[in-house]
Amino acid sequence: MTSLHHLLRGLLRTLAVIVLCAGTAHAAKPDGLDLPEQYESRYRTLITELRCLVCQNEALSDSNAELAVDLRREIRGMLVAGKSDAQITEFLVARYGDFVLYNPPVKPTTLMLWYGPFALLALGVLIAVIIIRRRGHTAPTALDSKQQQQLQELLRQQDEDKNS
């Protein structure tokens, strides 16, 4: 398959998907008005950490796309039915894959993602410490007489500048 073909296919697919993404006017309409208060904070956390699949990078909480409305309804239903947060995310991951999670799971493929930064920090601090140690050992170079004269001249000027 030529790369052009690949590109065209990509474009066509994007078009198809965009059909469902009508109205990307952020601020999801407040639905879920009937959700009992005890579930409210779990609901809010869940829908901010789950991705709207048909949008250009929005969470379920921000999207007005039909699929997002449907999925929010599903989630509310599951909360009221007593499902746990893990069961709800499992439900969605089983159907849509890890793509739906904004909080990427810790798996062999994401080890670099989750531990990379801290490994790099440790490495960076180690290198910094090595550099600092090395610097501490170099003695400052002495000035020759001409440079000494220039130094005195500059120091005198600095004093004048300070007093001016």
């Binding site: 059909v19 599903e74 894959g97």
Partner: protein, 177 residues
């Protein structure tokens, strides 16, 4: 000396990544249901709503499930391709009418052709969620044992049919039931 080349080396890797990225589609969501059993469902037929079709009924033969809707613009583009495929009678084709109105759906089939043995109606999209439907059109290839073997996202072109779907279909039908 080599440590000064490190930034350049890392940059090279970044460029390779970005170049590859230009030819990928970041919005495409692959299905986690491949090689897993198709979800359970029992849905009314579009043409005869008193009757229903369920997962059980479809076991025993390889079939294509095409997710479509009358409000879907690109579905029109793939309909001629699907009609041609239906005429070759190589595979059973079922339609999955997603979040649609019955009259509009029937009218659409009349206008653009009906290649399906039957169409089932999922008006609230609930079963669609079980299938991991997120856009329309999508097409699933399911084998005799009810296992989903392939999901095509977007309209099916003749090329897609020839290069991907038909070879997979033949491979599945070649295996003993």
């Amino acid at each position: 000396m080599t440590r000064y080349l490190l930034p350049l080396g890392l940059f090279g890797a970044l460029v390779a990544l970005l170049f590859t990225g230009l030819y990928l589609n970041p919005r495409e969501v692959p299905s986690p249901l491949i090689d897993k059993p198709a979800p359970e469902f029992t849905l009314p037929l579009l043409h005869e709503p008193e009757k229903t079709l369920s997962r059980q009924d479809l076991l025993g033969k390889v079939y294509l499930l095409n997710v479509w809707a009358s409000w879907c613009v690109s579905c029109r583009d793939e309909q001629p391709v699907l009609m041609r495929l239906a005429q070759t009678k190589q595979v059973e084709m079922y339609g999955f009418n997603y979040k649609d109105q019955r009259d509009e759906a029937l009218r659409w089939l009349q206008m653009f052709g009906d290649p399906f043995t039957a169409s089932i109606s999922d008006t609230d999209g609930r079963i669609g969620i079980d299938w991991g439907v997120y856009g329309v059109p999508e097409t699933f290839l399911v084998d005799q044992h009810g296992i989903i073997r392939y999901k095509h996202i977007g309209p099916v072109s003749q090329a897609d049919l020839d290069t991907i779907l038909l070879p997979k279909l033949r491979a599945l039908q070649g295996t003993s039931p």
